[in-house]
Amino acid sequence: MPSGWLLLLVLLIAALGYLAGRRRALASTGGRIRDLHSLPGAYGWNVALAVLIPSLLVLALWSALAPVALDRMVAPLMEGQEGEMSLLMSDVRRVAGGLELLGRDAVLDSEGLRDRLGGVGVALGEEVTPATLAAAQAYDRLQHRSRLLLDVLVLALALGAAAWAVRRTGPELRARNEVERSFLGLLVAAALVAIATTVGIVFALLFNTGKFFSLYPASEFFLGTTWSPSFGGGSTLGILPLAWGTLYISLISLLVAVPLGLLSAIYLSEYASPRLRAWAKPMLEVLAGIPSIVYGLFALLAVGPALLAVFGQGGFGIMQGGTAAITAGLVMGIMLIPFVSSLSDDIINAVPQAMRDGSLAMGATPSETIRQVVIPAALPGIMGAILLAASRAIGETMIVVLGAGAAASLSLNPFDAMTTITAKIVSQLTGDSDFNSPEALVAFALGMTLFVVTLLLNVLALWIVRRFREQYE
């Protein structure tokens, strides 16, 4: 039975259970609701939840673990090198899927099987070997058995739970309390998704980074000054040129975004008339709502050619192509303006008015007040905002993929093409390389580095901003 049908059947049992529980509760007091502990609906929900929670849990766990267990059981049938196993197993799985379509007992030998599988829409790279066929047949048999077992188990569990919960139903059962306890459990489970996500990220990165470092020495990765992956093997994968590109482009973007964002925030909060503020602030924030792919295209097709026209061969002659660190940095700076300005705006507004009034009363001009009283008071918060913007800049992907170029270089010239950690994660994982080669696995080490750096920046920034807020509350 496909799992979709199984799911529907479980839902149906739950719905029937709801009706049965409700009915039994009402019948137990002869229809007088006031003699029940809870409202009749609560008894219904009690049965429905008793059905749903265990059977869906089993269904989910089984679906997640069965493929892994099947692989374990079938893998001994195949002989292959360490690296090939995953490819061989995916062939076996594909053939097993095809066998199911052809009819389980229709195939007896591997002769001409590839064409027959092609006929039912299962495309294979090469002929099926007898060993693969045997493994696929074993896989198919085991899978069939596992599904049957799952069907029986889930249905038995659902029906058993329904019967148990209906039998318990009576005027004494504290159905509302039980239902609410289950609901609270569901709410906690939803809150745990956040932790599960973090754990998932850390494990996904750690596991594959460990694999990478077993193939490629960590010291050469962190200290290497050349980045030249070659998919045939024998690549040099040093992170330093990428880290340099990332830092340089982020620095350019901050040089654009911080002065512009900070000054606009100051102007909007201290000088602008309410009318100007009412339309200029949302307009500026439109920049923050535009997706980064749009900025990437803007960098590649508008800003890059414009810069090239001024600084390229026709002009100053210091720029070779439209994609360069300065292109990506400028555009990323524009993207970060609203980010810096709205954060600084909040922080400047949090500085108590009394400090401004005191300064103005002493005869300082508004700009002197801002420079010598407001900004120093807001400085820690502004530093936090800049760190948050820096972490955004380091993690930004599409602008640098499209605007910064592809060559990894340790150049000081902002008009040179550079590349970043994020851009290389994309190019290493979207290429055609084997997943277990160092050239693909390096992406996880890069991702790990990126994750750790942005996490530290964020934690630091959030800590600074929180301390700053507390100071004036």
Binding site: V193, I201, G261, I293, F298
Partner: protein, 451 residues
């Protein structure tokens, strides 16, 4: 302290002057004030100018993608070529490959040029460069759909090649064709003459909005429709998962969670997840959903799951804010008449917080709609979107792309005709985002309550 008179310490007093006249120091301070103010205004104007420049270049470069040049050409579908026996059986006609139809089109084009009285040195084979290389397939499909057309001369509206399209849109000029192997200036003379006779025309390009991606050689036939479908499917997954999960998590944290280490840990986690770079979520999706759980690569279902995890923190933060804004008196009143805490939340607090939650969900989804990088890692790259999915359920699991990934794919292709498509795709993407944000604003205006 000393008893010295003040003016002895400060030196000789300056001569008394009028209060209405600023002394040099005050004037300098006032000038500094004006300068500072001007810097602020200038910074604001630069930011706004960047916005205008960005939107301007999008609209300017993207609008041409919504029109497309077509050539109307009477093609003689000769019976001798297609169906010598006169069977009228589509299976017989299908034996003629698109190459066979190429010959028919070349002949028709040569005839049209001669009839128009255009003198040209181009061979019929070269003339065919005026048309999209998909033109033969278009004619073939029409004939296979209606075999009775064989033997007649039928007027077809065929896609012009991307260079011809660019010429009529002003993107391609005679000078730019000088070192172009696809088209020569001589072709443009033919185009001019045909256009003068009304055989070449520009019309609305519905295929761009609804169609599928095309191969690298045929930018004139590429559309973003299938990728849009992929994006919409993903948004359904995101809405269906992140809204219930996010609301449930927020209710727990805001209404039930005791103040302890554990809930603090959850909160720190959510705050940090909100700032994790999106590409890291892509890595998570690749490892957890595709490698570990064995879900199909490039499937909108997986994309939706990744984007769900990404938008969850946003939704939790917004939902908690709107739950917090419901005054405690509501809860107290519900508890006072005998409701349980769960009933107070689900029957009273949640409905009152709903407009704020919906606004947050829309904003989170708008962010997810424009996200590209994680989708590239799970295989939802642009060129996948070349076929429409077979059915509603299949659209969740069969390989597809998404609007931003399609735009990225076009931006990477070498042909400048694809750049126009990429800008046009951005217009569509921004229209979707604008509609979603407008919806959020309207929702807030209509239902928001101030307590």
């Amino acid at each position: 302290m000393t008893d010295l008179p003040l003016d002895a310490a400060a030196g000789p007093r300056p001569a008394p002057r009028s209060l209405l006249e600023a002394d040099p120091r005050t004037a300098a301070r006032n000038r500094a004030e004006a300068r500072f103010r001007a810097y602020g205004l200038a910074a604001l104007l630069v930011g706004l100018a960047a916005l205008v420049l960005l939107l301007g270049s999008i609209l300017w470069n993207g609008f041409p993608a919504f029109t497309q040049t077509r050539v109307s050409l009477p093609v003689e579908l000769s019976q001798a070529e297609l169906d010598p026996e006169g069977t009228g059986d589509p299976a017989v006609i299908a034996k003629t490959s698109t190459f066979g139809f190429d010959d028919l089109i070349e002949a028709a084009l040569a005839k049209a040029v001669v009839e128009a009285g255009i003198g040209t040195d181009l061979e019929p084979g070269d003339l065919a460069d005026l048309l999209s290389s998909g033109a033969a397939a278009q004619v073939r499909d029409a004939v296979l759909a209606d075999p009775s057309l064989v033997g007649q001369t039928v007027e077809f509206d065929l896609l012009a090649s991307s260079r011809v399209d660019g010429y009529l849109k002003g993107r391609v000029t005679r000078e730019s064709l000088a070192d172009d192997r696809n088209l020569s200036p001589a072709h443009l003379d033919v185009v001019d003459a045909l256009a003068a006779r009304g055989a070449v025309s520009r019309g609305f390009n519905a295929a761009f909005i609804l169609g599928a991606d095309a191969s690298e050689k045929r930018p004139e036939a590429a559309g973003i429709g299938v990728a849009t479908l992929g994006s919409l499917t993903m948004m359904l997954v995101v809405l269906g998962l992140s809204l219930p999960l996010g609301v449930a998590a927020s209710i727990y944290l805001e209404e039930f969670a005791p103040k302890n280490r554990f809930t603090d840990f959850i909160e720190v986690n959510i705050a940090n997840l909100a700032a994790v770079p999106s590409i890291v979520f892509g890595i998570l999706g690749l490892v957890a959903f595709i490698q570990f759980a064995g879900l199909p690569a490039s499937a909108p279902l997986v994309g939706g799951l990744v984007l769900t995890l990404m938008t969850l923190p946003t939704i939790v933060i917004v939902t908690r804010a709107s739950l917090k804004s419901v005054p405690p008196s509501i809860r107290d009143a519900a508890l006072g008449v005998g409701a349980s805490r769960m009933q107070a939340v689900f029957h009273h607090v949640l409905p009152l917080a709903l407009p704020g939650i919906m606004t947050g969900a829309i904003i989170g989804m708008a962010r997810a709609l424009g996200e590209t990088a994680p989708l590239l890692l799970i295989g939802m790259v642009g060129f996948v979107a070349s076929n429409a999915p077979d059915g509603v359920l299949a659209s969740f699991t069969s390989p597809n792309s998404a609007m931003p990934a399609q735009i990225y794919e076009w931006a990477k292709r070498a042909d400048p005709a694809y750049y126009e498509r990429a800008w046009g795709g951005i217009i569509l993407l921004l229209v979707f985002l604008l509609l979603m944000n407008l919806g959020a604003v309207l929702l807030r205006r209509r239902f928001e309550r101030r307590w």
